[in-house]
Protein backbone atom coordinates (compact mmCIF):
# COMPACT_ATOMS: atom_id res chain seq x y z
CA UNK A 1 0.00 0.00 0.00
CA UNK A 2 1.50 3.30 -1.10
CA UNK A 3 1.80 5.91 1.63
CA UNK A 4 0.59 9.00 -0.23
CA UNK A 5 1.76 11.38 2.47
CA UNK A 6 5.28 9.94 2.42
CA UNK A 7 5.50 10.27 -1.37
CA UNK A 8 4.14 13.82 -1.18
CA UNK A 9 6.84 14.75 1.34
CA UNK A 10 9.46 13.29 -1.00
CA UNK A 11 8.11 15.26 -3.97
CA UNK A 12 7.89 18.52 -2.02
CA UNK A 13 11.58 18.17 -1.09
CA UNK A 14 12.45 17.63 -4.78
CA UNK A 15 10.32 20.63 -5.72
CA UNK A 16 11.97 22.76 -3.03
CA UNK A 17 15.42 21.93 -4.46
CA UNK A 18 14.35 22.96 -7.96
CA UNK A 19 12.57 26.09 -6.76
CA UNK A 20 15.40 27.42 -4.64
CA UNK A 21 18.09 26.60 -7.20
CA UNK A 22 15.95 28.30 -9.86
CA UNK A 23 15.55 31.32 -7.60
CA UNK A 24 19.30 31.62 -7.01
CA UNK A 25 19.96 31.26 -10.75
CA UNK A 26 17.40 33.96 -11.50
CA UNK A 27 19.57 36.37 -9.53
CA UNK A 28 22.01 36.29 -12.47
CA UNK A 29 19.45 37.82 -14.82
CA UNK A 30 20.99 41.06 -15.99
CA UNK A 31 24.30 40.29 -14.24
CA UNK A 32 25.86 37.35 -16.09
CA UNK A 33 29.33 37.91 -17.58
CA UNK A 34 28.12 37.81 -21.19
CA UNK A 35 24.75 38.25 -22.87
CA UNK A 36 24.51 34.62 -24.05
CA UNK A 37 24.98 33.40 -20.52
CA UNK A 38 22.50 35.88 -19.17
CA UNK A 39 19.93 34.32 -21.49
CA UNK A 40 21.07 30.80 -20.68
CA UNK A 41 20.91 31.23 -16.93
CA UNK A 42 17.53 32.93 -17.07
CA UNK A 43 16.32 29.87 -19.00
CA UNK A 44 17.87 27.45 -16.53
CA UNK A 45 16.12 29.33 -13.75
CA UNK A 46 12.78 29.26 -15.55
CA UNK A 47 13.10 25.54 -16.32
CA UNK A 48 13.92 24.62 -12.72
CA UNK A 49 11.02 26.66 -11.38
CA UNK A 50 8.76 25.03 -14.01
CA UNK A 51 9.92 21.61 -12.85
CA UNK A 52 9.24 22.50 -9.22
CA UNK A 53 5.67 23.32 -10.21
CA UNK A 54 5.19 19.86 -11.75
CA UNK A 55 6.39 18.20 -8.53
CA UNK A 56 4.22 20.41 -6.31
CA UNK A 57 1.19 19.61 -8.49
CA UNK A 58 1.85 15.90 -8.19
CA UNK A 59 2.16 16.28 -4.41
CA UNK A 60 -1.17 18.16 -4.41
CA UNK A 61 -2.85 15.23 -6.19
CA UNK A 62 -1.50 12.78 -3.61
CA UNK A 63 -2.68 14.94 -0.73
CA UNK A 64 -6.10 15.62 -2.26
CA UNK A 65 -5.28 19.33 -2.50
CA UNK A 66 -6.24 21.73 -5.29
CA UNK A 67 -3.36 21.51 -7.79
CA UNK A 68 -4.10 24.98 -9.14
CA UNK A 69 -3.48 26.63 -5.77
CA UNK A 70 -1.13 24.29 -3.94
CA UNK A 71 2.15 25.28 -5.66
CA UNK A 72 1.72 29.00 -4.94
CA UNK A 73 0.78 28.31 -1.34
CA UNK A 74 3.86 26.16 -0.86
CA UNK A 75 6.15 28.73 -2.43
CA UNK A 76 4.76 31.99 -1.16
CA UNK A 77 3.07 31.27 2.15
CA UNK A 78 5.07 28.45 3.76
CA UNK A 79 7.39 29.43 6.61
CA UNK A 80 11.12 29.13 5.84
CA UNK A 81 11.65 26.40 8.41
CA UNK A 82 9.21 24.10 6.58
CA UNK A 83 11.22 24.07 3.34
CA UNK A 84 13.14 20.83 2.75
CA UNK A 85 15.66 21.87 0.10
CA UNK A 86 19.34 21.10 0.42
CA UNK A 87 21.63 23.79 1.74
CA UNK A 88 23.61 23.25 -1.47
CA UNK A 89 20.94 25.06 -3.50
CA UNK A 90 20.29 27.90 -1.07
CA UNK A 91 23.89 29.13 -0.74
CA UNK A 92 24.25 32.65 -2.18
CA UNK A 93 25.07 32.60 -5.89
CA UNK A 94 28.73 33.47 -5.37
CA UNK A 95 30.76 34.16 -8.51
CA UNK A 96 30.06 32.78 -11.95
CA UNK A 97 32.25 29.73 -11.37
CA UNK A 98 30.37 28.90 -8.17
CA UNK A 99 26.92 29.10 -9.75
CA UNK A 100 28.01 27.10 -12.83
CA UNK A 101 29.67 24.35 -10.81
CA UNK A 102 26.73 24.09 -8.42
CA UNK A 103 24.35 23.73 -11.35
CA UNK A 104 26.58 21.02 -12.85
CA UNK A 105 26.80 19.02 -9.61
CA UNK A 106 23.04 19.25 -9.16
CA UNK A 107 22.27 18.41 -12.81
CA UNK A 108 24.31 15.21 -12.77
CA UNK A 109 22.56 14.02 -9.64
CA UNK A 110 19.21 14.96 -11.12
CA UNK A 111 19.87 12.99 -14.31
CA UNK A 112 20.52 9.87 -12.25
CA UNK A 113 17.48 10.44 -10.06
CA UNK A 114 15.18 11.18 -13.03
CA UNK A 115 16.36 8.01 -14.78
CA UNK A 116 15.27 6.09 -11.67
CA UNK A 117 12.00 8.00 -11.24
CA UNK A 118 11.02 7.52 -14.88
CA UNK A 119 10.98 3.76 -14.12
CA UNK A 120 8.75 4.27 -11.06
CA UNK A 121 5.87 1.87 -10.47
CA UNK A 122 3.80 5.02 -9.75
CA UNK A 123 2.76 5.94 -13.32
CA UNK A 124 2.03 9.64 -12.73
CA UNK A 125 5.47 10.05 -11.19
CA UNK A 126 7.21 8.21 -14.05
CA UNK A 127 5.48 10.42 -16.64
CA UNK A 128 6.55 13.69 -15.06
CA UNK A 129 10.09 12.39 -14.57
CA UNK A 130 10.29 11.46 -18.26
CA UNK A 131 9.13 14.96 -19.24
CA UNK A 132 11.71 16.70 -17.03
CA UNK A 133 14.50 14.32 -17.99
CA UNK A 134 14.63 15.28 -21.65
CA UNK A 135 14.73 18.99 -20.77
CA UNK A 136 17.55 18.37 -18.32
CA UNK A 137 19.67 16.96 -21.15
CA UNK A 138 20.10 20.56 -22.31
CA UNK A 139 21.12 21.74 -18.85
CA UNK A 140 23.76 19.10 -18.43
CA UNK A 141 25.14 19.63 -21.91
CA UNK A 142 25.54 23.32 -21.09
CA UNK A 143 27.03 23.01 -17.62
CA UNK A 144 29.45 20.23 -18.64
CA UNK A 145 30.79 22.43 -21.43
CA UNK A 146 31.32 25.35 -19.06
CA UNK A 147 32.92 23.33 -16.27
CA UNK A 148 35.46 21.99 -18.77
CA UNK A 149 36.02 25.39 -20.38
CA UNK A 150 36.57 27.16 -17.07
CA UNK A 151 38.52 24.32 -15.46
CA UNK A 152 40.97 24.12 -18.36
CA UNK A 153 40.80 27.79 -19.33
CA UNK A 154 43.06 30.41 -17.82
CA UNK A 155 44.93 30.41 -14.54
CA UNK A 156 42.21 32.63 -13.10
CA UNK A 157 39.27 30.57 -14.34
CA UNK A 158 40.87 27.38 -12.99
CA UNK A 159 41.62 29.01 -9.65
CA UNK A 160 38.05 30.26 -9.30
CA UNK A 161 36.59 26.89 -10.25
CA UNK A 162 38.82 25.14 -7.74
CA UNK A 163 37.76 27.59 -5.04
CA UNK A 164 34.12 26.96 -5.97
CA UNK A 165 34.63 23.20 -5.74
CA UNK A 166 36.31 23.49 -2.35
CA UNK A 167 33.40 25.58 -1.07
CA UNK A 168 30.64 23.45 -2.62
CA UNK A 169 31.92 19.96 -1.95
CA UNK A 170 30.89 19.61 1.71
CA UNK A 171 27.37 20.71 0.72
CA UNK A 172 27.21 18.66 -2.51
CA UNK A 173 27.71 15.51 -0.49
CA UNK A 174 24.34 16.21 1.13
CA UNK A 175 22.80 15.02 -2.15
CA UNK A 176 23.24 11.44 -0.96
CA UNK A 177 21.06 11.74 2.13
CA UNK A 178 17.67 10.03 2.03
CA UNK A 179 14.81 12.36 1.11
CA UNK A 180 11.90 13.00 3.47
CA UNK A 181 9.42 10.16 3.14
CA UNK A 182 11.84 7.93 1.22
CA UNK A 183 12.17 5.33 3.99
CA UNK A 184 8.39 4.81 4.08
CA UNK A 185 7.99 3.98 0.39
CA UNK A 186 7.84 0.46 -1.06
CA UNK A 187 10.63 -0.64 -3.42
CA UNK A 188 10.22 0.51 -7.00
CA UNK A 189 8.47 3.81 -6.30
CA UNK A 190 11.60 5.97 -5.98
CA UNK A 191 15.28 5.12 -6.49
CA UNK A 192 17.53 4.60 -3.45
CA UNK A 193 19.31 7.91 -2.76
CA UNK A 194 22.45 6.20 -1.45
CA UNK A 195 22.80 4.22 -4.70
CA UNK A 196 22.27 7.38 -6.76
CA UNK A 197 24.98 9.04 -4.73
CA UNK A 198 27.49 6.31 -5.62
CA UNK A 199 26.72 6.73 -9.34
CA UNK A 200 26.91 10.51 -9.03
CA UNK A 201 30.21 10.42 -7.15
CA UNK A 202 31.84 8.18 -9.76
CA UNK A 203 30.68 10.37 -12.61
CA UNK A 204 31.56 13.79 -11.18
CA UNK A 205 34.91 12.62 -9.77
CA UNK A 206 36.08 11.46 -13.20
CA UNK A 207 34.69 14.50 -14.98
CA UNK A 208 36.12 17.08 -12.56
CA UNK A 209 39.55 15.42 -12.75
CA UNK A 210 39.47 15.73 -16.55
CA UNK A 211 38.56 19.39 -16.14
CA UNK A 212 41.73 19.92 -14.08
CA UNK A 213 39.88 20.20 -10.76
CA UNK A 214 40.78 18.39 -7.54
CA UNK A 215 38.41 17.12 -4.88
CA UNK A 216 40.10 17.91 -1.58
CA UNK A 217 40.56 14.96 0.73
CA UNK A 218 39.03 15.07 4.18
CA UNK A 219 35.64 16.47 3.19
CA UNK A 220 32.84 15.53 5.58
CA UNK A 221 31.48 12.11 4.67
CA UNK A 222 28.03 10.79 3.95
CA UNK A 223 27.56 9.48 7.45
CA UNK A 224 26.77 12.99 8.59
CA UNK A 225 24.86 14.69 5.77
CA UNK A 226 23.36 18.08 6.54
CA UNK A 227 19.67 17.64 7.37
CA UNK A 228 17.19 19.12 4.93
CA UNK A 229 15.42 20.63 7.93
CA UNK A 230 18.46 22.80 8.68
CA UNK A 231 18.87 26.01 6.74
CA UNK A 232 21.57 28.64 6.60
CA UNK A 233 21.06 32.22 7.76
CA UNK A 234 21.09 33.32 4.10
CA UNK A 235 18.01 31.21 3.50
CA UNK A 236 15.75 33.30 5.72
CA UNK A 237 16.63 36.36 3.66
CA UNK A 238 15.94 34.52 0.39
CA UNK A 239 12.49 33.41 1.58
CA UNK A 240 11.65 36.81 2.96
CA UNK A 241 12.39 38.43 -0.37
CA UNK A 242 10.68 35.73 -2.44
CA UNK A 243 7.49 35.88 -0.36
CA UNK A 244 7.36 39.60 0.35
CA UNK A 245 4.90 40.56 -2.40
CA UNK A 246 2.56 37.57 -1.97
CA UNK A 247 2.37 38.12 1.77
CA UNK A 248 1.12 41.68 1.30
CA UNK A 249 -2.17 40.18 0.12
CA UNK A 250 -2.34 36.38 0.30
CA UNK A 251 -5.79 36.22 -1.30
CA UNK A 252 -4.95 38.40 -4.29
CA UNK A 253 -5.57 36.91 -7.73
CA UNK A 254 -3.41 37.68 -10.77
Amino acid sequence: MLDHKALARYLIALADDELILGHRNSEWTGHAPILEEDIAFANLALDEIGHSRLWYELAADLLGEDRARFPDRQVFLRPAEEFRNLQLVELPRGDWAFSMLRQYLFDVFEQHRLAGLSESTQASLAEVAARIRTEEIYHLRHTRAWVTRLGLGTEESNRRMQAALDALWPYARGLGGALPGEAGLPAGVVPDSAALYEAWLAEVSAFLAEAGLTIQPGSPDLQSPISRADHSSDFAALIEEMQSVARLDPEATW
Binding site: I39, L46, E127, T134
Partner: protein, 168 residues
Protein backbone atom coordinates in the same frame (compact mmCIF):
# COMPACT_ATOMS: atom_id res chain seq x y z
CA UNK B 1 -27.30 21.06 -12.72
CA UNK B 2 -25.03 20.94 -15.75
CA UNK B 3 -26.59 22.36 -18.90
CA UNK B 4 -25.41 20.69 -22.05
CA UNK B 5 -26.58 20.33 -25.60
CA UNK B 6 -28.22 17.08 -26.63
CA UNK B 7 -25.84 14.94 -28.66
CA UNK B 8 -27.76 15.53 -31.89
CA UNK B 9 -27.02 19.26 -31.97
CA UNK B 10 -23.42 19.04 -30.86
CA UNK B 11 -20.79 20.15 -33.34
CA UNK B 12 -19.13 17.14 -34.97
CA UNK B 13 -15.64 16.08 -33.92
CA UNK B 14 -14.40 17.30 -37.30
CA UNK B 15 -15.87 20.74 -36.62
CA UNK B 16 -14.25 20.84 -33.19
CA UNK B 17 -10.84 19.87 -34.58
CA UNK B 18 -11.29 22.51 -37.27
CA UNK B 19 -12.05 25.16 -34.64
CA UNK B 20 -9.04 24.11 -32.55
CA UNK B 21 -6.87 24.31 -35.69
CA UNK B 22 -7.64 28.03 -35.68
CA UNK B 23 -6.11 28.54 -32.23
CA UNK B 24 -2.64 30.01 -32.70
CA UNK B 25 0.34 29.16 -30.53
CA UNK B 26 0.60 32.24 -28.28
CA UNK B 27 4.35 32.60 -28.86
CA UNK B 28 4.40 31.54 -32.51
CA UNK B 29 1.09 32.71 -34.00
CA UNK B 30 2.03 31.37 -37.46
CA UNK B 31 1.38 27.79 -36.23
CA UNK B 32 -1.63 26.36 -34.41
CA UNK B 33 -1.96 24.16 -31.35
CA UNK B 34 -3.18 21.13 -33.31
CA UNK B 35 -0.33 20.96 -35.82
CA UNK B 36 2.16 21.51 -32.98
CA UNK B 37 0.87 18.29 -31.40
CA UNK B 38 -0.28 20.09 -28.26
CA UNK B 39 -4.00 19.26 -28.58
CA UNK B 40 -4.11 15.48 -28.25
CA UNK B 41 -7.59 14.14 -27.71
CA UNK B 42 -11.29 14.97 -27.53
CA UNK B 43 -13.70 13.19 -25.24
CA UNK B 44 -17.17 13.60 -23.78
CA UNK B 45 -17.90 13.31 -20.10
CA UNK B 46 -21.62 13.52 -19.31
CA UNK B 47 -22.33 15.90 -22.18
CA UNK B 48 -19.29 18.00 -21.41
CA UNK B 49 -16.41 18.22 -23.87
CA UNK B 50 -12.95 17.43 -22.54
CA UNK B 51 -9.91 18.46 -24.53
CA UNK B 52 -6.63 16.83 -23.53
CA UNK B 53 -3.50 18.87 -24.14
CA UNK B 54 0.16 18.07 -23.59
CA UNK B 55 2.22 21.17 -22.89
CA UNK B 56 5.61 21.38 -24.59
CA UNK B 57 8.27 22.56 -22.14
CA UNK B 58 7.43 22.29 -18.45
CA UNK B 59 8.14 25.96 -17.85
CA UNK B 60 6.36 27.20 -20.97
CA UNK B 61 4.96 30.59 -19.93
CA UNK B 62 2.32 30.42 -22.68
CA UNK B 63 0.61 27.43 -21.14
CA UNK B 64 -2.18 29.26 -19.32
CA UNK B 65 -2.89 31.46 -22.31
CA UNK B 66 -3.26 28.32 -24.45
CA UNK B 67 -5.90 26.91 -22.12
CA UNK B 68 -7.86 30.15 -22.14
CA UNK B 69 -7.73 30.38 -25.94
CA UNK B 70 -8.90 26.80 -26.38
CA UNK B 71 -11.87 27.46 -24.10
CA UNK B 72 -12.70 30.64 -25.97
CA UNK B 73 -12.63 28.85 -29.35
CA UNK B 74 -14.92 26.14 -27.99
CA UNK B 75 -17.29 28.67 -26.46
CA UNK B 76 -17.59 30.27 -29.89
CA UNK B 77 -18.79 26.86 -31.17
CA UNK B 78 -21.43 26.78 -28.44
CA UNK B 79 -19.44 24.45 -26.17
CA UNK B 80 -19.38 26.70 -23.15
CA UNK B 81 -18.86 24.09 -20.41
CA UNK B 82 -15.76 22.49 -21.96
CA UNK B 83 -12.80 21.47 -19.88
CA UNK B 84 -9.07 21.33 -20.67
CA UNK B 85 -7.21 18.34 -19.21
CA UNK B 86 -3.42 18.30 -19.05
CA UNK B 87 -1.58 15.04 -19.66
CA UNK B 88 2.12 14.24 -19.76
CA UNK B 89 1.48 10.64 -20.75
CA UNK B 90 3.35 10.32 -22.98
CA UNK B 91 5.34 13.55 -22.63
CA UNK B 92 5.26 15.97 -25.55
CA UNK B 93 7.95 15.51 -28.15
CA UNK B 94 8.91 17.68 -31.11
CA UNK B 95 8.43 14.55 -33.26
CA UNK B 96 4.69 15.36 -33.10
CA UNK B 97 5.05 18.66 -34.99
CA UNK B 98 3.42 18.10 -38.40
CA UNK B 99 5.28 18.48 -41.71
CA UNK B 100 3.11 21.49 -42.53
CA UNK B 101 3.93 23.19 -39.22
CA UNK B 102 7.65 22.52 -39.78
CA UNK B 103 7.44 24.35 -43.08
CA UNK B 104 5.61 27.26 -41.39
CA UNK B 105 8.33 27.50 -38.74
CA UNK B 106 10.97 27.57 -41.45
CA UNK B 107 9.07 30.22 -43.44
CA UNK B 108 9.01 32.36 -40.30
CA UNK B 109 12.81 32.12 -40.02
CA UNK B 110 12.78 29.57 -37.20
CA UNK B 111 14.65 26.35 -38.02
CA UNK B 112 12.35 23.39 -37.33
CA UNK B 113 13.53 20.81 -34.78
CA UNK B 114 15.40 17.95 -36.44
CA UNK B 115 13.77 14.51 -36.29
CA UNK B 116 15.59 12.56 -33.58
CA UNK B 117 13.70 9.29 -32.96
CA UNK B 118 14.68 9.45 -29.31
CA UNK B 119 18.38 10.25 -29.77
CA UNK B 120 18.50 13.91 -28.73
CA UNK B 121 22.22 14.15 -28.06
CA UNK B 122 23.03 12.46 -31.37
CA UNK B 123 20.89 14.78 -33.46
CA UNK B 124 22.35 17.86 -31.75
CA UNK B 125 25.71 16.99 -33.36
CA UNK B 126 24.24 17.27 -36.88
CA UNK B 127 24.49 20.51 -38.87
CA UNK B 128 21.43 22.76 -38.67
CA UNK B 129 20.53 24.25 -42.07
CA UNK B 130 20.02 28.03 -42.11
CA UNK B 131 16.27 28.70 -42.56
CA UNK B 132 17.09 31.72 -44.75
CA UNK B 133 19.71 30.55 -47.24
CA UNK B 134 19.79 26.77 -46.62
CA UNK B 135 23.52 26.74 -45.87
CA UNK B 136 24.73 24.00 -43.55
CA UNK B 137 27.69 26.15 -42.50
CA UNK B 138 26.11 27.29 -39.25
CA UNK B 139 27.35 27.51 -35.67
CA UNK B 140 25.61 27.12 -32.34
CA UNK B 141 25.78 30.34 -30.35
CA UNK B 142 23.62 29.40 -27.37
CA UNK B 143 21.69 26.30 -26.30
CA UNK B 144 19.17 28.69 -24.78
CA UNK B 145 17.18 31.38 -26.52
CA UNK B 146 14.37 33.86 -26.15
CA UNK B 147 11.94 31.20 -24.92
CA UNK B 148 12.47 27.78 -23.27
CA UNK B 149 11.90 26.05 -26.63
CA UNK B 150 14.56 27.81 -28.72
CA UNK B 151 18.32 27.82 -29.25
CA UNK B 152 20.42 30.37 -31.14
CA UNK B 153 22.64 29.79 -34.20
CA UNK B 154 24.47 31.98 -36.67
CA UNK B 155 24.83 31.27 -40.38
CA UNK B 156 28.43 31.52 -41.60
CA UNK B 157 27.28 32.17 -45.19
CA UNK B 158 24.51 34.76 -45.01
CA UNK B 159 25.88 35.94 -41.63
CA UNK B 160 22.43 36.15 -40.08
CA UNK B 161 21.60 34.85 -36.61
CA UNK B 162 18.61 32.53 -36.39
CA UNK B 163 16.79 30.43 -33.84
CA UNK B 164 16.00 26.73 -33.92
CA UNK B 165 13.05 25.13 -32.16
CA UNK B 166 14.73 22.71 -29.73
CA UNK B 167 14.30 19.05 -30.46
CA UNK B 168 12.64 17.48 -27.42
Amino acid sequence: MVMSKPAATRPSEAEIWEALSQVPDPEMPFVNLVEMGIVRELGWQGGRLQVTITPTFAACPAYEVMQAEILAALAALGLAGAEVLVSHNPPWTSEWISAEARQKLKDAGLAPPPRHQGDLLGVLMDPVPCPRCGSEQTSLRNSFGTTPCRMIYTCNDCKEPFEMFKPL
